[in-house]
Amino acid sequence: MAAPAPPLIEVTDVGRTFADGTRALAGASLMVPAGAITALVGPSGCGKTTLLRMMGGLDAPTSGAVRFAGGARPRAAFAFQEPRLLPWRSVVSNVALPLELAGVPRGERRARAERILDRVQLAGAGRKLPGQLSGGMRMRASIARALVTEPELLLLDEPFGALDEITRQALDDLLLALWGEFGMTVVVVTHSIVEAAYLGRQVVVMAPAPGRVVGCIKPGFASRTPALRATPEFAASTASLLQMLAQSMVREKGAA
C-alpha cells in the first residue's frame, strides 16, 4: 500500500449545538486524506450531515475547528440525497448551472456539461427535462452537475439513499470510476454499512446523541469491483463496522 496521503481536511474536537439546544456534534475529530474517498456512516442524528456541511462551508462549528490543507477551503461541490434539478431546465442546462452562475460563457459551459454528461452515461439525455428521467438518471445528472466545475472536494450527502439497491450499486461503481478518473477528494455520507465499506478507503463510524466519532477503519481491498461484495474480506469489514456501531449503542445505553 502507498504511504498515507496528507490530510486535506482536519476536523479537531468539533462541537455543534443548534439554536434549539440540540447537540448535533460533540468533540468529533477526524482526518480526510487528500485524493481518497472517506465514508461517514452512522444512524440518523449522528451528525454526519452536519459534519459534511461544515466541510463545504454550509455550517460552522460552535467549538473546535475544521482546517484545510494550505489554509484555504478547497473548491467544493455538493450532491444531495435529492437530485435538486430545476424542473423547467433541460438536463444539460441543469448540469451547466454552476458554470452559468459563475459567469462561464455559454459555448464553453455547454461543451463542458456535455462532456461530463457523457462520463455519467447520460449523453443522449441532455435535451430531456428532469421529469422525463428515471430516479437513477436524475441522480447521475446531479453528480454530473457537481463534477462539472472540476471540484477538488466532492461532498455527497446520502446521494443514492432514495434509490433501489440495484441502481444504487451501479451508481456506487460509477462513482468509483469517476473518482479514478478525476482523482478528487470525496467525502460521502451514508447510512448503508455495505456502501460505506465498498466506497471508503477510510470509513468513519459515528454515533448519535450527541453526535460523535466512535471509530475508523481503512479497508485495504486490492480492487473494488462488483465481485468484491461477495468476498469474505468484504464481509469481515462490514462485520467490524457493524460491531463498532453496536458497541457505541451499548455504551450509550450504559451511560443513560
Partner: protein, 258 residues
C-alpha cells in the same frame, strides 16, 4: 390539438345555446316589456344596427383594460418580488396592500378622476388598481414557496441575489404568477368599465361603459344587453390571451410534471 380544443369547447357551447334558447322561449311565453327583458333576437338586431359604434367602443375599453393589466402585471410581479425578498418589507407592507385591496374600487374611482382627469387615463388607472393585487399576492406566494433545497443549491454555487431571482425564484413562481395574471385579466375589464362610468365622456370616442350608460338613459335595454355582451367578450378575449401566454410559458413545467 384542434380536436382537443373542439372537444373542450363543445360542452360550454351547448350550454350557451341552450340558455339562449331558454331565454327566447321564456320571453315568447311571458312577453315582458321590451324595456325589462329584450328577446335575444332584439339584442342581436341592436348589435348589428349599432356595430359601427359598438365594436370600436369595445376595442377602446379592451385597450384601456389591456394597458391597465400590463401595468398591473409589471407592478405586481415587481412588488411581489421585492416583498418576497425581504421579510421586513413583507411584514410591513403586505397587510397594507391587503387593506388597500379592501377599499371598494367604485369608491376610489372619483379620486382617480381628480388625479387622472376625464378620459381613458382614468380607465387605465382603474383597471390597473383592481388587477394589481392578485398578481402581487400570487407572485409573493409563489416565490415564498421556492424549494429550500434548490435555494441551498444556489447558495452553494454562490449565486448573486439577482441570479437567484431570475434563474430560480421567478421561474419557480411562474405557475402561481400565471394564475394571478388570469384572475387579473378578467378583473381589468371590470376596472376599465368602472373607470369609464365615472371618468369617461360621451363623444365620438365613447368607450363601451359610456354606451351602456347612454343606452340606459334612452331606455334602449336591447342596446345595453348588446354592449354588456361585447364587454364580456372583451374580457373573455383578454383572459384567453393571457391563458394562452401562460400555457406557452408553462410548457416546460407541464412537460416536466408529466
Amino acid at each position: 390539438m384542434i380536436a382537443r380544443l373542439l372537444r373542450a369547447a363543445l360542452p360550454p357551447a351547448i350550454v350557451v345555446i341552450a340558455l339562449v334558447a331558454a331565454w327566447d322561449i321564456a320571453v315568447r311565453l311571458m312577453q315582458p316589456s321590451e324595456y325589462l327583458v329584450p328577446a335575444p333576437l332584439a339584442v342581436a338586431r341592436a348589435f348589428l344596427e349599432q356595430r359601427a359604434e359598438l365594436v370600436p367602443a369595445a376595442l377602446r375599453t379592451a385597450g384601456s383594460a389591456a394597458a391597465g393589466f400590463a401595468i398591473a402585471a409589471a407592478a405586481g410581479v415587481l412588488a411581489g418580488s421585492v416583498l418576497a425578498a425581504s421579510r421586513f418589507l413583507m411584514r410591513g407592507l403586505y397587510p397594507l396592500a391587503t387593506l388597500l385591496q379592501m377599499v371598494p374600487l367604485v369608491a376610489i374611482a372619483p379620486i382617480l378622476v381628480i388625479w387622472c382627469g376625464y378620459g381613458p387615463r382614468t380607465s387605465v388607472a382603474s383597471a390597473a388598481i383592481v388587477s394589481v393585487f392578485p398578481v402581487l399576492a400570487a407572485t409573493l406566494d409563489g416565490m415564498r414557496s421556492t424549494d429550500p433545497g434548490l435555494a441551498e443549491l444556489f447558495g452553494v454555487c454562490r449565486a448573486s441575489r439577482l441570479q437567484r431571482w431570475w434563474k430560480l425564484e421567478l421561474p419557480w413562481a411562474l405557475p402561481s404568477i400565471v394564475t394571478g395574471l388570469r384572475i387579473a385579466a378578467g378583473l381589468s375589464v371590470i376596472g376599465a368599465i368602472v373607470g369609464e362610468f365615472v371618468g369617461a365622456f360621451a363623444g365620438d370616442a365613447s368607450p363601451i361603459g359610456i354606451i351602456i350608460l347612454s343606452a340606459m338613459r334612452e331606455n334602449r335595454t336591447d342596446l345595453v344587453f348588446a354592449s354588456v355582451a361585447l364587454a364580456a367578450a372583451a374580457g373573455f378575449a383578454l383572459f384567453g390571451l393571457v391563458s394562452l401566454l401562460g400555457w406557452a410559458l408553462l410548457r416546460r413545467w407541464h412537460a416536466s410534471a408529466g
